[in-house]
């Protein structure tokens, strides 16, 4: 035995060689050189049994320490070289991220549906139910029960679509008959809204459609007053259209008294602010309560109605109502 090598110097030489290894290949040859089967350290540790007993402990301890140090250095260097290699590979893998990504198509709800859903959300939050009624209606529900007597011009052939063969069966001209059906179906309290399609015998042009959409609202309870009508309408309109002034002025409808026209302040494209009529409303006329068997002395209530088409047209600045009913995807897909 030519004697024991200087283990400290060996470890230093090894770690220096390892950290200088420029790539994984050089690192592997360094590993073979310092920890391979023929490496001096490996041979030393393999021959401990041949050493004098008093040296075996010291040489074994120092030899193993040197081997761990070399292994740690190898692992560290390998990690570093691999990280560099991965970084370089990633850098080389270029892509124009501004090209269009894979498209996931999204369709659009019709603007009228969008408004109706928002209106429903607002009133559901206040505790109203969403009611529904037929579009093919009786003259009684659409007119008589709503205090519009026979002979009234609205009941004429020129204003209303009548169904052939029926006894004044018609396409409802307003969502208000849902009020009557709702009240006939059960006792107060009643808090409902009724969005739906309505029909009037207007020729089609930019501002008229024989078919359009309304939302009706009805609240009947003990102690409801005009103040509650105002509060409800103002809350609803500001939720739907944003924080703006709401004006309520007297008007006339056959089935409410007092009746009001509701307008909101609106600034148009040219920057002019004006009142824009958006709804009709009022306290339910006692005659209507009598028609459905509610005691008008005990119950009071209010009703309101507004056009969904009109709100959608205002919101989206749509100037021609015909666009709403043509099914033109160039129009519909703008609202997704």
């Amino acid at each position: 035995m030519s004697g024991i090598p200087d283990l400290t110097a060996l470890a230093q030489e090894a770690t220096a060689a390892i950290s200088d290894a420029p790539d994984l290949e050089a690192l592997e040859s360094a590993r073979v050189r310092f920890l391979g089967r023929k490496a001096p350290l490996t041979e030393l540790l393999g021959s401990i049994g041949t050493l004098p007993p008093e040296e075996r402990g010291r040489v074994g301890k120092e030899g193993n320490a040197a081997r761990r140090a070399i292994e740690d250095a190898l692992a560290a260097r390998r990690d570093a070289l691999e990280a560099d290699a991965m970084g370089a590979a990633l850098e080389a893998d270029t892509a124009d991220v501004t090209l269009p990504g894979n498209a996931f198509p999204l369709g659009a709800l019709h603007p009228i549906t969008q408004v109706a859903l928002e209106v429903e959300e607002i009133f559901l939050g206040m505790g109203y139910s969403v009611a529904d009624g037929p579009e093919v209606e009786t003259g009684f529900n659409n007119f008589t029960a709503l205090n519009t007597p026979e002979g009234h011009p609205a009941r004429s052939e020129s204003d209303t679509f009548f169904i052939e063969g029926g006894d004044e069966v018609l396409l409802r001209t307003q969502t208000s008959p849902v009020q009557i059906r709702t009240m006939q179906s059960g006792p107060p309290p009643v808090y409902v809204i009724a969005p739906g399609t309505v029909y009037r015998r207007d020729d089609v042009d930019a501002t008229h459609s024989p078919m359009f959409h309304q939302v009706e609202g009805l609240a009947v309870d003990e102690g409801l007053t005009f103040a509650h009508l105002k509060g409800t309408i103002e809350y609803f309109l500001t939720r739907l259209l944003g924080d703006r002034d709401v004006r309520v002025i007297p008007h006339f409808f056959p089935f409410t008294e007092p009746s009001v026209d509701v307008s909101v302040s609106w600034t148009d494209r040219n920057g002019r602010t004006d009142w824009l009529e958006v709804a009709g409303a009022g306290m339910v006329d006692p005659n209507v309560f009598a028609n459905v068997g509610y005691d008008p002395e005990r119950w009071t209530g209010f009703a309101f109605g507004f056009g969904l088409d009109r709100i959608a047209m205002i919101r989206h600045q749509i100037s021609d109502i015909r666009l709403l009913y043509e099914g033109d995807l160039r129009f519909l897909e703008q609202f997704s």
Partner: protein, 808 residues
């Protein structure tokens, strides 16, 4: 209605300025739609901005046939260039010119303009632009004695403000200037002057009955008829002040007699009619229903045929007026008339409306009668008109009045409870204030501790009938803006119905899949049933038919959403849109036994071309039957319904074999497939187009299933086995899976087809199906023998039941 404020202010001493008065009227329910100045508005600059001009030259515009380029001397150093489109403009005329900066009667400010490339430094005015006439044929040409540059304000009559009012149908009393004056008194407290209804001297000879007789045969349609006779009438022009007021209110001057009837109508809301007494046969007045087919030549020269429900004012022989609406030519007052019969009558409102609609004839008079006029009104109007006839036409009034009045029940007083006012309006209004308001409205109020007893004046008895009517009046005059806005407190117990939830989820899912929602007309042509190739006896040919449809294209209520959407596709294709995805949710209409309709909702989607995202490395495929079944099953799944496509349906509007019924829980929920090429042709649509229709009541009925119970397929191994089998092409994939599931038993968790192949290496008449079996038992690890047993049973059953052959 046009309200000249100068006229109004003669009757009510209101000290609000024009704008404030308009605001107050609007706030109390008499909506002011527009405020216009008749003539040149008085503003700082308008005296300078409106000038007399002399047209020096008028040349043809180089680029516009109907425009001329003028050189006009407006009193400045140099003439100015003005472009004018009036047909009557010519060199040498003296005209009124508005210069840039002028404030026009409607309030808009005039600027410099360029018309077809030629600059115009002003505008030559017409009477209509100055709101002095409803319409003008051309520009206003003035006298040549006026010097260029003279302020036009000094030349024209003084300007006046006119409010255009939108009256509500319950306010017939406001259809006259004096009615508005009463309303202004009520809403402002300003002093109201009494109308001068002093009669003129009755200086004619004899008695009215000596000249004419009156018979009212239809008192139901004519509750009151008054007539008087005036002699020595001189027909001629009206005085300027009357012409101006008529024109300001939107009427034209005819002659003094006709003008008086119109003037008094504008003032009192009571239409009057003047007859040339010498042209009446009899002379007699008969108020009767027209004979069926009876004819009348009205003032506009048109012959009109009347019906038995039309009321006429006739002489002894023939109709002289369509009552309350329009007079006949022959009995009209004109040059040469000396003896006049003046009518002031009340007609039944609904009857006037029917006649007016039936004949397509609406006049200032009929518009007033439509709302119903009180029978106390004719004497007021008659007195004023007779006085004016005396003063302006030199008439002598014959003593006596022909006056037929149907008996009427006088309305009793109305009790107005103070508590009721608060219960409706939500604000306490002191009894003294409500009494004050009602008093100003002309009511007689007997004040009480709990209630007022209110007697309504005759001019409001039509619309103030019940306590609630008085509550409204108190509220509106008190001011709705002074009532607080309060949200009601209510117990929230609302939720959407199952069907409403289904509709919401379906529409949301459809959008998320890239479909856009359309709304199409629900009235459709009846021919759609033919275009859909429905057999003659198909139940869906029963439709709700509109009696007074706008056109054949809108004649019946739809039974299906398909035709409306196919028309939408046609429209899109016509605009070069080759691919798309569109859907609609809505009702269909089935005639019902009670005369109304069942209105079940459906969702229908159409996919055409190759819809979907098209990117630089994505190319969507053209749609086919599986696009439709996949979408249909996805839509159903979005509402918790697990639908399957079942073969063998025969919807006539779909491809005969490339269509499937969608079923769930044994219920048919819809249909999906390729639209039949012949149907596409009928709608002028290019294929491929596929359709899905799901019935919303069926989806709601099958409904979301019960909450699923958790199955432990997590802690145990789950095995899959793939089989490739050859089966005859007539065997459906669904059948293969059913057989495999049946044979596999409880351990077979899932069986699905993941490939389908026909062609090379597959014998003619057969297809190759790849089936994946998923095998496990919750909570227990299966042995290899158990797993193989499932597979073997499935293979054996497929071989025995469908002739399947296992491919190696």
């Amino acid at each position: 209605m046009k309200l000249p404020l100068e006229w109004l202010r003669e009757h009510v001493a209101v000290d609000l300025d024009d704008a404030a008065l308009a605001d107050r009227l609007t706030a109390t329910g008499t909506a002011v739609e527009r405020t216009v100045t008749r003539g040149i508005p008085v503003t700082q600059g308008n005296r300078e901005a409106f000038r007399i001009g002399k047209v020096l030259t008028a040349e043809q515009h180089p680029d516009a046939d109907r425009l001329r380029v003028l050189s006009v001397d407006t009193g400045d150093d140099a003439p100015r260039q003005i472009v004018c489109g009036a047909p009557n403009v010519a060199a040498g005329q003296t005209v009124a010119v508005a210069l840039p900066g002028a404030v026009m009667p409607g309030g808009q400010k005039l600027g410099k303009a360029k018309l077809r490339g030629v600059e115009s430094l002003g505008m030559v005015l017409s009477e209509s632009e100055l709101e002095m006439a409803e319409e003008s044929e051309g520009i206003l040409v003035l006298g040549d004695d006026l010097a260029a540059g003279t302020p036009v304000i000094d030349v024209l009559p003084p300007p006046g403000t006119i409010l255009e009012l939108e009256l509500t149908p319950n306010r017939g009393d406001c259809q006259g200037i004096y009615g508005i004056a009463r309303e202004v008194h009520a809403i402002t407290g300003a002093a109201l002057h009494d109308l001068d209804t002093a009669p003129p001297p009755e200086d004619g000879p004899g008695q009215v009955g000596d000249y004419v007789s009156l018979r009212v045969e239809a008192p139901d349609l004519c509750p009151r008829y008054m007539a008087r006779v005036l002699l020595d009438v001189t027909v001629g022009p009206s005085p300027d002040w009357m012409v101006r007021r008529l024109e300001a209110a939107g009427m034209r001057s005819i002659n003094n007699v006709v003008d008086i009837t119109n003037y008094v109508m504008l003032l009192t809301a009571q239409p009057l009619h003047a007859f040339d007494l010498d042209r009446l046969a009899g002379p007699a007045i008969v108020v009767r229903r027209a004979g069926e087919g009876e004819r009348i030549v009205t003032l506009d020269g048109q012959e009109r045929t009347l019906g038995g429900d039309h009321l006429v004012i006739a002489d002894a022989e023939k109709p002289a007026v369509i009552a309350g609406i329009f007079g006949a030519e022959f009995a009209e007052v004109g040059e040469g008339t000396t003896r006049v019969l003046l009518e002031a009558a009340t007609f039944d409102g609904p009857s006037i409306i029917r006649t007016s609609l039936g004949l397509g004839l609406r006049t200032e008079s009929s518009a007033r009668f439509e709302k119903g006029q009180p029978t106390d009104l004719p004497p007021v109007a008659m007195a004023i008109a007779c006085r004016l006839m005396h003063e302006l036409a030199g008439a002598s009034l014959v003593p006596g009045v022909l006056d037929e009045r149907a008996p009427e029940q006088a309305p009793g007083p109305i009790t107005l409870r103070h508590a009721r006012v608060a219960a409706i309006l939500g604000v306490d209004i002191a009894p003294a204030e409500s009494a004050e308001i009602l008093g100003r409205l002309g009511c007689t109020v007997e004040q009480g501790a709990d209630a007022h007893v209110v007697t309504v004046p005759w001019w409001r008895t039509a619309d103030l009938v019940r306590e609630i009517d008085l509550v409204e009046e108190v509220g509106r005059v008190h001011g709705f803006d002074r009532i607080p806005a309060v949200l009601p407190r209510l117990e929230a117990r609302a939720s959407l119905s199952p069907q409403q939830k289904v509709v919401r989820r379906l529409t949301r899912y459809a959008c998320d899949q890239g479909l856009s929602e359309a709304i199409t007309y629900r009235f459709v042509p009846e021919a759609d049933a033919d275009r859909l190739h429905l057999p003659a006896d198909d139940e869906r040919r029963r439709v709700v038919r509109i009696g007074n449809a706008l056109s054949d294209e809108m004649a019946v209520m739809r039974r299906s959403l398909i035709p409306g959407l196919l028309r939408a596709v046609e429209r899109n294709q016509a605009h070069q849109r080759r691919d798309g995805a569109i859907f609609e949710v809505g009702r269909t209409y089935i005639p019902a036994a009670d005369g109304l309709a069942d209105e079940p909702e459906e969702i229908t989607a159409l996919l055409f071309g190759a819809p979907g995202a098209r990117g630089w490395r994505q190319a969507p495929a053209e749609v086919d039957v599986w696009s439709a079944t996949g979408l249909g099953i996805g839509l159903a799944a979005s509402v918790g319904v697990h639908a399957e496509a079942v073969a063998g349906v025969k919807e006539p509007w779909l491809h005969p074999v490339r269509q499937a019924r969608l079923t769930a829980g044994g219920i048919v929920v819809g249909v999906a497939g390729e639209v039949h090429p012949a149907v596409l042709k009928a709608f002028d649509v290019k294929g491929p187009v596929v359709a899905v229709t799901l019935r919303i009541p069926a989806l709601t009925q099958v409904g979301p299933e019960e909450p699923r119970r958790y199955v432990d397929l997590i802690s145990v191994p789950v095995s899959t086995r793939d089989l490739a089998v050859l089966v005859p092409e007539t065997v459906t994939a669904a059948h293969v899976l059913d057989v495999a599931r049946e044979a596999g038993g409880d351990l077979l968790q899932r069986a699905e087809v993941f490939d389908h192949y026909a062609g090379d290496q597959v014998p003619e008449g057969q297809v190759s199906l790849a089936v994946r079996l998923t095998i496990a038992e919750p909570g227990r690890t299966l042995t290899d023998e158990e797993i193989d047993g499932v597979t073997e049973r499935a293979v054996a059953a497929l071989r025995d039941q469908v002739g399947a052959e296992l491919r190696s």
